[in-house]
Symmetry: C2
Subunit: 440 residues, 2 copies
């Protein structure tokens, strides 16, 4: 194994807090044992003998985290975008996901997804697979080979979905999940890829299944955290449906909570939260549940615009999700500018008191904000270069004339970051490090 | 001069109408004298001897039209995106535009803009320059050299703008405009680049200047159409301001009309129209004024979402504008997906009765819809391959594995178009023809 001790020089930008960037022109980053030893204007004497990689004039940013993405949907991204959530699931998502019963197809499609993710600005991702155990394990192996840090979920779904993509019963779904958890333990070689429980959403899971998953999370969580991901309050029709399915629960979030799936037995992450009620926001906060804000998907599926300013003011923990294939772009830079843009429309047209996101905030969400989920879930701190964090870094050749970012202006490091965020010029990623290993 | 007679083979897609695509797998397009002779499933015998260019397996689309873009703002695209229109003009646009008094700087910045436009999917553009005559002529020469078809406007602005970017008086502005019109006539070699009168917007132009421009349009329009472009109803503060400046006019559009600048003396194109009143829509229709819909700019500057469905139902003529640098992307593919996306938010959140745009409609707006303005303004029909149109075409290598568009699915031509529109993968433009000449 490589020693993972080295120094990088370049134009460094990362977040100090949601409102504050730290920038360092021609600075040094030190990696020791795969972790950041900090950033320095000049290299401290003690590190003089380390190998140095000179990225002079290039931007060096922390690796980004994609908190919500559906790997099997990558193949049909940017297709059939004229439907709302429930129709979209039936027409686009379910028929494609059913193909992953066939490991050969899964290998082809997941191969494309993993390669695209490797080339993307994300060093970490929280991923939905399908309900199929072999294909899900295959995806995990491919992600491991690519060197990324990911949570991957085999889905649970035993009701309200077509017969060709439905687990026979709660018992079958739970025993497949156990089998998958055991395989994840035995087949993966590194600690980079971990399982995450993934009930699709309440409409797809029977009460018995949801209760069983809470039991599994508790049981497996005794050794090490077993996190859980699902969808929450994405679409108004969906919310009404959940209210009918769970008449005893006060809210959609409350329904997860009533089943013991809302942070009680391990870290939880919920995608969307476009239409939260006040008491859901309180519950999310109380339980330390993460929100994966997916602005492009919420636009593409006509779901709405999540009240991110309210989340930030309430002190919730959140990051960004590309939500491919509700979103079409695998770039978290694009998710950042989408987040800013929809927040502007929300402020201008719906809620003048909810100030639009600024660049600093959007960048924070896509880097340190999302990175914090991995820490909570026992996978190391990431998303900034603070000493002690896992060394996840991107090197981007934004000033190269072929980058498509030509400008006659003198640009500050903040300017250069703003251009990346808006122009999502991912083709210019020069190098990418995950936990101190170069993966691109 | 080349003969501009040839045949192209490839996978052809263009619009028959706003709601209908025509697709032809492995079809033929014939160019005779720079004009389309039509598209054919198999090559008619009479064209057998023409030179053939085989783009088998690649998408062949009509060239797109960008109906609204500010060339001098290209340098600061994707910078300082946290302001609304009037502050944004004062802080970002005016200081940068002032630099174009210096022809050396103009050469550098316009060089970057023209190269980016040449590489973009636009074959045609309607462009704002600055108030400076020499720099504007330089821009026109560079665009001519690049082989594009453009209307370019030297700006008029004699009030409510900073002293460093204001023409001394209406008389000075009008005489500079005459001088620029004469130079456009004498210095340009081809008929590809033509002037367009460009009062910035009502707040920047005195009544005397606006009246004078109406006179110029009438006078010069006797020989051939001299079109006019400006901005209309972009931002709510701006609209209030115009109402104060023109208390005698019923509406913002009415104010242009009261000065004789709303299609009376030649073709007119108005950017934005985010907040139109009913009687403005009627006036726009009556006068055949074109709307340049600029969805991304309207989002970035928190202006709002234009009611495009109402425009279409009213039978207005419209196309898309990137509005760099209110928009940050020079790609009309991106403008198409932006248009679809904001229309979904408008329907979901503001106006349920205004159906969101579909793929066919957005593609139509960016190709034939915008292309129709050039016909109205005497520059030839474009935007589809109908026989008799100018031969403007894009060849896009979307199925190449390096395109970033990998998919395990079998894709129809419509699918492939949808992916281009959403993923705006402009880096894959293989070839571009304008009036039958290859420019890329």
């Amino acid at each position: 194994m490589e020693e993972r001790n080295f120094v990088i020089t370049g134009d460094i930008v990362h977040s100090k807090s949601p409102g504050e960037l730290e920038t360092l022109e021609n600075g040094c980053l030190v990696c020791i044992g795969g972790k950041s030893a900090g950033l320095f204007p000049a290299l401290p004497g003690e590190y003089r003998n380390l190998p140095q990689k000179d990225y002079g004039g290039k931007l060096v940013l922390p690796g980004l985290s994609d908190l919500h993405v559906h790997a099997p949907q990558f193949g049909f991204r940017a297709l059939g975008m004229d439907l709302e959530l429930l129709d979209w699931l039936n027409k686009n998502a379910f028929p494609e996901e059913a193909k992953f019963q066939d490991c050969e197809y899964a290998g082809l499609s997941y191969g494309m997804f993993v390669e695209a993710l490797r080339r993307s600005p994300s060093c970490r991702a929280v991923i939905f697979a399908t309900l199929h155990t072999p294909a899900t394990v295959l995806l995990m192996e491919k992600l491991e080979e690519a060197g990324l840090v990911c949570f991957v979920g085999k889905l649970n779904m035993d009701r309200n979905c077509p017969p060709y993509l439905r687990e026979e019963s709660a018992a079958v779904s739970l025993s497949s999940t156990r089998e998958w958890l055991e395989q994840s333990e035995s087949k993966l070689k590194s600690a980079n890829i971990r399982p995450i429980l993934s009930p699709r959403f309440i409409p797809s899971c029977s009460d018995e299944l949801l209760r069983g998953l809470a039991g599994l999370q508790k049981e497996y969580g005794r050794k090490r955290p077993l996190p859980l991901q699902s969808h929450l309050s994405e679409n108004r029709q969906e919310i009404e449906w959940v209210k009918k399915l769970c008449p005893q629960s006060r809210t959609y979030a409350g329904a997860y909570s009533d089943f013991g799936l809302f942070g009680e037995a391990g870290p939880a992450i919920m995608a969307h939260c476009v239409w939260p009620e006040d008491e859901e926001i309180e519950l999310i906060k109380k339980r330390g549940v993460f929100i994966a804000h997916c602005p492009q998907s919420n636009t593409n599926l006509s779901s709405g615009i999540a009240p991110v300013r309210r989340f930030l003011e309430a002190g919730l923990r959140l990051g960004l999700g590309t939500d491919v294939a509700g979103g079409v772009h695998l770039s978290v830079f694009r998710a950042m500018s989408d987040a800013i843009q929809v927040s502007k429309l929300r402020q201008a047209l719906l809620a003048p008191e909810e100030k639009a996101l600024g660049l600093e905030e959007a960048f924070y969400l896509g880097s340190a904000g999302g990175g914090a989920f991995f820490e909570q879930a026992g996978m190391g701190r990431s998303g900034s270069f603070d000493a002690g964090n896992d060394f996840d870094a991107l090197v981007i050749d934004d000033m190269n004339p072929v980058s498509g970012l030509a400008s006659p202006l003198h640009l500050s490091l903040r300017d250069r970051l703003e251009r990346l965020v808006y122009l999502a010029a991912d083709g210019n990623i020069n190098a990418k490090y995950v936990r101190g290993l170069q993966v691109l």
